[in-house]
Symmetry: C2
Subunit: 305 residues, 2 copies
């Protein structure tokens, strides 16, 4: 069941660029014209393995959601989330909120406070841009003077203040908080399930990305309470467990890889998507939004099931 879902995700990623109608077929040509052709031509070194010490498996009755945590931007928040995971604190909690075109959020419906970990944390909404391996996207952006990618995640920076931050694109994961930023310790997490809510950027700690199983969250019924909270406890989707991949025996892990964003092949991918040349498209856009750049995920090709 789970493997089927992972495969589905990977398939979805790989066909995402196929023509909008099922009847349209890509042109055949020597140079890659489509994302699957380009990905098929990648080298093993174009991909980066996901670190099992920073990978969460959130088990729902419907399957597994895989989240890659990135300690680069919010290291203390990520460390505390991993501490809560190791203590099995999330087990038995639930998805409590699904607001259409916004977020799915999970945590403790009773708002209890964990015995382990931090009680408060300083805000980690951005970091100094200096010396980061920021790969810039040439396209202009509404919100920031520069957008691009840092180690596989969408990021932005402002030349004026030297700040750099992760962007709330679809499937990005952040740390819910109350009005006081220090209340964000990881007891409430959310992922984006709609148009990128960029107004949240630099207002919240962004800690990673859902790299498999996002549809297990994005297709949940929307909550009918304020801000999409479920009004009845039985409407919530229970969380069976959350584990670090490294906590599980190898046989229960799926070795996922993400396409590296600091490579020539990633630049080719961006250009393929900026100007779609498959026959369905009559007017290539000529531009691409940072949140429309695909971040491909695959199972390691030599993995035996």
């Amino acid at each position: 069941m789970f493997f089927a879902r992972i495969l589905t995700l990977i398939l979805t990623v790989s066909v995402f660029q196929t023509a909008f109608s099922e009847n349209a077929k890509a042109q055949t040509a020597s140079a890659p014209m489509t994302m699957p052709e380009l990905l098929a031509a990648t080298k093993p070194t174009d991909w980066r393995a996901i670190d099992p010490d920073h990978t969460l498996y959130m088990e729902l009755s419907t399957g597994r959601v895989v989240i890659e945590l990135s300690p680069l931007f919010a290291p203390r928040h990520v460390a505390n989330i991993e501490k809560l995971v190791r203590a099995h604190w999330y087990d038995g909690l639930a998805v409590t909120r699904v607001q259409d075109n916004f977020v799915a959020q999970w945590g403790d419906p009773l708002n209890s406070h964990p015995e382990v970990g931090e009680k408060r944390l300083p805000a980690e909404f951005s970091r100094p841009a200096a010396n980061s391996s920021f790969v810039r996207l040439k396209d202009v952006d509404t919100y920031a003077s520069e957008v691009g990618f840092v180690n596989g995640l969408p990021a932005a920076r402002n030349s004026s203040d030297g700040e750099e931050w992760l962007i709330h694109c679809y499937a990005m994961v952040g740390v819910g908080r109350d009005t006081d930023p220090s209340t964000a310790i990881g007891t409430e997490l959310y992922t984006v399930i709609g148009h990128a809510p960029r107004q949240l950027d630099r207002n919240i700690a962004v800690v990673g990305r859902v790299i498999a199983g996002i549809e297990l969250l994005s297709a949940l019924p929307r909550g009918t309470g304020e801000s999409g909270f479920y009004e009845q406890p039985e409407q919530r989707m229970p969380i069976q467990s959350v584990r670090l991949a490294s906590e599980l025996p190898a046989s229960e892990r799926v070795p996922l890889e993400v396409l590296r964003t600091d490579t020539p092949v990633f630049q080719k991918l961006i250009e393929l998507r900026r100007n779609r040349r498959d026959t369905w498209y009559k007017k290539p856009a000529g531009h691409i939004d940072v949140c429309s750049v695909p971040l491909p995920v695959r199972e390691r090709p030599d993995h035996k099931r």
Copy 2:
């Protein structure tokens, strides 16, 4: 059931701007600080009634999806869709495709051709910008030299070629087609359920917007076939009927209004959302993406149920 859903939608719109955490409360001040405060202070003339001759009610077993058609940009496509509706051609068809972070699409799974209406239609992907009532958004856009709103819908134009077109924001409705643009006659329709797929702009006829019940489409299970098509017929969500609002007796209609986009109050709304001043936000964005500007919908206030 249906009225409850409509109310839910309106409630969702009105609370959309509330702080991200349920614990945060908006400040009280004399000038409106939040969208609900602003909307509460509107005059009746700030709203525009939806034309029942251009409003579709798509009935699913889970409720009603309401679509406002706009003949401004794709008049022949809209006219043909309305012809198909009057012939009850959509009754008994189904939602055939739901692709995560992209579109939900409906039509005839058997790909039959209607007896009524057009067999082919010329492309209506854009129109000349001259003399339109385009209300410009001052923020820069990745894809177009100008973005803004035309009669309540997000639109873009390029100063270089004088073209104007509707934007694929969340909940916008377009006409599916094969590689040949003339195959788009309205037998396949879709709505956006993810981050705005702007690469579709100017490649397809955009005909309107889902103004109520989008969650009945966006929360459907994702299809596991290529491009999100359902692999098994029983996975499809059947369409019970599609009617023009004007075909129904008044008692079965819901008189919806949309906030006009050519008014000072709409400009105030944009500014409220560009720089959020409720206490939850620590760093107002200072900018807003055209697809992040809310397009509020309400039931006519004097409507008796």
